[in-house]
Symmetry: C2
Subunit: 250 residues, 2 copies
């Protein structure tokens, strides 16, 4: 399984991903799922992948190849992130056309989805989710985060914490806690964790981190968060079983 | 959708359920999903249902009918909760045999699952999850809670808080927070919430509560929890992007 998330605030972007891949519980591996296709000074482009590994690797390879050979259309010459999202979606469709029938015959899940975050000079920072069908949606002021993969365990903390106004440092912390919650409840999501913080209009990545399995920051955060949660839990009053039905009592 | 959970600790049981049922987003209704089949003094039996409403109602009706007509085998004469779980599973299979083919033809999800918690005199309190196929699993000292329906949003708080040694009052509070988290992330799970706390060896229900949509306790708990979480979040240190790779630093 996989868990990747992107947060798009007024101050920039945070993108984070785990690195655990499994084909059954007896075949667990580590694959990086966060890819940096930036061209510093002109554009920052980050991609996260989820789903069938052969399909996502084929998409990433195809995007890299277009860059390498200087194809007419590539990640570094498209003028907007919206067009980049369409171009990535087209790649997904091409791989589908080639492989999906065969995978379907074998009963193998051939879906994949991607997060695309970044900023191109002259544009605002943006965050897209490219679906398995090649179409995409975009994060907005009202819904500033997008997730792919095992999304549910890590969503409550995002729902409670993230708004478009959240400072980037808080968003990065929240992304790590969201991953921490997911790793606690689903062992098929695991470290190393890749986190990138991108400051609006900087057009280069200045903050990135790989948190290894026993990384001291990850351990420390997990511990402090668990303690703080326990304290928060204690602060909530016990159920009042004998309370009167009169709401004014409270 | 539905979310029900049961917690089985050394001190007794907590069972909680929401009441929202939907057939598409344009057809949302309120149905109680927690049923009390206790025979005070002899046994406490609580059932929660999740899944296809026509199937779970048919199961509950069939169980009630057996009680009413004094069937040879019924909820009040089986000697152990394990046998009650098998009996409930048999009912699920009967309804499946009758209806599943027709629902399948129409492309309707015909699965259902149930939580069964309680205590029969001479036995320990126990908690079972009866699957759609009629088989069941049981909560244990190592895994003292079971969930059905929309389980993921509410699991992190249980994972972090509940052990077999957790006091019952804390377990009840945790059940409500688990439901609160789920309702926040999935609008198809909603109040009224039914909560029951059962004290081991009391053989009767002394603590139960129905929390209506704007119940002041629910509102208060939701608010205090949100504030406490925000404080907990603030307690976690920001990411140290410049930290040395030397673990001893921490």
């Amino acid at each position: 399984m996989t868990y990747c998330l992107g947060i798009s605030t007024q101050a920039g972007l945070v993108i984070a991903a785990d690195s655990r891949t499994n084909a059954g519980v007896d075949n667990v591996s580590t694959y990086r799922k966060l890819f940096d296709f930036s061209h510093p000074g002109d554009r920052v482009l980050l991609l996260c992948t989820s789903g069938n590994l052969s399909m996502t690797q084929a998409v990433i390879n195809s995007l890299s190849k277009d860059l390498k050979v200087g194809a007419d259309v590539n990640l570094h010459n498209l003028p907007s992130l919206h067009e980049v999202a369409r171009y990535v979606g087209d790649k997904v469709r091409q791989i589908h056309d080639r492989d999906a029938e065969w995978l379907k015959k074998a009963g193998i899940d051939y879906n994949c989805s991607l997060l695309l975050g970044g900023q191109i000079r002259g544009e605002d920072p943006e965050l897209f989710l490219v679906y398995s069908e090649g179409n995409s949606i975009q994060a907005t002021v009202e819904t500033p985060f997008l997730q792919i993969g095992e999304t549910k365990y890590g969503k409550p903390i995002l729902d409670r914490t993230i708004t478009y106004e959240t400072p980037l440092e808080a968003a990065a912390k929240c992304a790590i806690l969201s991953l921490d919650s997911t790793m606690k409840s689903n062992i098929s999501v695991g470290p190393p964790i890749n986190v990138v913080l991108y400051q609006r209009d900087s057009f280069e990545i200045r903050h990135q981190l790989t948190l290894e399995p026993r990384d001291p920051y990850l351990t420390k955060v997990g511990k402090i968060w668990a303690e703080a949660l326990r304290k928060a839990f204690d602060d909530v009053p016990d159920v009042d079983w004998t309370r009167s039905p009169n709401p004014e009592q409270y």
